[in-house]
């Protein structure tokens, strides 16, 4: 069978002296795919990206590009385009000079350089800024120029380290669409680092969740969202509640005081964590004498949806309802919580 693996990361570990940044990373990146590395701050995302780019040497393991070991190739010979968090545009060069820099190093003729710069400026929809100084650009324009500069060299891999984190929400949203469009247009294999899960969900063909220097889950965004592999992933992805509960004597899950009709492969009586998303819980008014009721401690209407915090036993559960819901719950109301068994994930309590 012909595999379509473009980059193969094999058992890569990295420590900085006593600090272990990455342990045993195994990843296969498909040709032409858009991969997002997602994880909380300090989990080793940047380190992994820098290892791919060649700026850090892995302590253990190796990288295979199209089956060939590239671990010993220095970064300037790898031909990977990189967009840095600070963008790192060259302030002493014009926009055109920035974009043409990689081509100049490749000894492209002046005509080739000019044509490629023009082509890229058209692609990023900024055809008239070639002669501007970098300092005379807006944040979003700089972003596009940095992307164009990296793409100008027709990179084998396109690497981005939190390129959009400095932009405001609206611009970030536009740039995400733009980025995805550019990636599809050029068909370049892309690895993007982010700690923003919405951004990752929106861009990625494959989502790689990193935490504590390990790959916690690598799958499509939908399956990471629907079936988180463990409670770390569930906690990090989306607005999920992690509810501490136990498996009842009959082997069924007890959740919010009710038995859920769902088989779980944990022994009766064991403590488990259940990940359940705010939007998958529904509330009903409860009678004052009803057992297994929670109390609404916070309510807000965000226009697109409503949100409540319900205090149940000693936990606070976040619940989200659509704006069209008829029922209003006020702070202090007694409620029962019900969930759709198809939409919960159960993990052994750590």
């Amino acid at each position: 069978m012909v595999t379509n693996t473009h980059l193969n990361i094999e058992a890569v570990s990295k420590s900085f002296g006593p600090v272990t940044a990455l342990t045993q990373i195994d990843l296969k990146i498909e040709r032409g795919s858009f991969v997002c590395l997602l994880g909380p701050s300090g989990c080793g995302k940047t380190t992994l990206l820098r290892i791919i780019a060649g700026f850090e040497k892995p302590t253990k393991g190796r990288l295979l590009l199209d089956g060939a070991d590239i671990s010993d190739i220095p970064p300037h010979k790898r031909g990977f385009g990189m967009v840095f968090q600070s963008l790192a545009l060259f302030p002493h060069m014009s926009v055109a000079q920035n974009i043409a820099y990689g081509l100049k190093l490749r000894k492209a003729s002046a005509k080739e350089q000019r044509e490629r710069v023009e082509e890229l400026l058209t692609v990023i929809e900024l055809p008239d800024i070639a002669d501007r100084a970098v300092s005379a650009l807006s944040g979003g324009q700089r972003q596009r120029v940095a992307i164009a500069r990296a793409l100008a060299i027709k990179p084998k891999l396109f690497l981005l380290d939190e390129p959009l984190s400095a932009l405001d929400a609206k611009l970030r949203d536009n740039m995400q669409i733009e980025l995805r469009r550019l990636q599809q247009k050029f068909g370049v294999t892309t690895v993007l680092v982010t700690h923003d899960q919405t951004e990752a969900m929106m861009l990625a063909d494959e989502l790689v969740v990193l935490d504590h220097g390990k790959v916690q889950q690598a799958a499509t965004p939908t399956s990471v969202y629907r079936q988180p592999a463990n409670s770390l992933v569930a906690d990090f992805i989306g607005a999920a509640n992690l509810v501490r509960t136990r498996v009842g004597e009959n082997g069924r899950l007890v959740l919010f005081g009710n038995t859920v009709e769902m088989a779980v492969d944990h022994d009766p009586g064991t403590a488990v964590n259940v990940a359940v998303r705010a939007e998958n819980i529904s509330l009903r008014s409860a009678q004052a004498d009803q057992e297994a009721a929670g109390r609404v401690v916070f309510a807000r209407d965000l226009g697109a949806f409503k949100e409540w915090l319900v205090s149940f036993e000693d936990q606070e559960i976040r619940v989200r309802g659509s704006a069209s819901d008829e029922i209003e719950f006020q702070v202090g109301d007694l409620v029962t919580l019900t969930v759709d068994p198809a939409r919960i994930s159960v993990f052994a309590a750590s």
Partner: protein, 280 residues
């Protein structure tokens, strides 16, 4: 509302104090220049201040000093000026060539090393200059060979290094590692990245350092006083020798010329450090 540095109420007294201090400061620092400039236009042989009559005769005399051979003194003003310029040029070039890679390495190394090295290079500033002169003299005399022009150039390099290094270091401060890595990711070798990105961005700091080195070396007196020989002396030494027995107003005229050049260079440095100027 603008928040002033000085309180507005009772600002009168504050402002008076500040103005008073500023006036004193400016007077102290510019008085010598003013006196020398006025005296250089004096018509009289006798150096008393203020002069009663004015003329350009000392400027004419300086011109003559430079144009006619003066066999009476071992080192003519022309030779001294040439030595001064050559030394200043060597000092300028060498200190910069040392400081650019040094500043790069220090800026990219850890903080402790950087601070330690900076302190080490600042030491010549805190040594008494006379002691430094004696030390360099002892070293030069203990050598078995003639140092030539380096006899003066080497001590000057030691004196200007802290200034040049500081300028290069502060120029390096704003240059992130990422910008170098960006060049590398686009295909530049690490050396090429330094040449294409780091050096151009350091340019203002490098130029400021160059000009500092030039001015300090050209005007240096104390250490040079220990190092000069019959065959090798600098312009400040020559000027001192002309005035040590009786004041020669021609040296004042020469000073005015040097001051004008220095002021021009200092203004240039100021522009460069503020990041506004651009020499090329």
């Amino acid at each position: 509302m603008r928040v002033g540095l000085l309180p507005r109420e009772g600002g009168g007294t504050y402002r008076f104090v500040i103005l008073f201090l500023a006036t004193i400061g400016i007077l102290i620092s510019s008085l010598p220049v003013i006196v020398v400039t006025i005296m250089s236009f004096s018509a009289s042989e006798y150096s008393s201040f203020p002069p009663t009559e004015f003329s350009l005769r000392w400027y004419v005399e300086v011109l003559q000093l430079f144009t006619s051979e003066d066999p009476s003194s071992a080192q003519s003003v022309v030779d001294s000026t040439f030595t001064s310029l050559l030394v200043a040029f060597l000092v300028m070039v060498i200190s910069t060539l040392v400081c650019i890679p040094l500043a790069y390495a220090l800026a990219r190394s850890n903080r402790n090393l950087r601070e330690g090295m900076e302190l080490l290079f600042t030491l010549p500033l805190v040594f008494p200059l006379v002691m430094l002169g004696i030390a360099f003299l002892l070293i030069a005399e203990s050598l078995q060979f003639d140092l030539g022009i380096w006899r003066i150039a080497i001590p000057h390099i030691a004196l200007v290094l802290p200034f040049v290094l500081r300028n290069c270091l502060s120029a390096m401060n704003g240059i992130s590692v990422e910008i170098e890595e960006a060049a590398i990711s686009l295909g530049a070798s690490p050396l090429r990245a330094i040449w294409d990105v780091v050096i151009p961005l350091m340019k203002a700091g490098i130029l400021a350092g160059l000009i500092f080195a030039l001015i300090i070396s050209f005007n240096e007196f104390t250490v040079t006083f220990f190092m000069y020989t019959i065959d090798l002396s600098t312009l400040p030494i020559w000027m001192y020798s002309r005035t040590v027995s009786s004041l020669d107003p021609a040296t004042l005229a020469l000073s005015v010329f040097i001051i004008v050049v220095d002021v021009f260079l200092v203004v240039l440095v100021d522009k460069l450090i503020a990041g506004r100027g651009n020499l090329f």
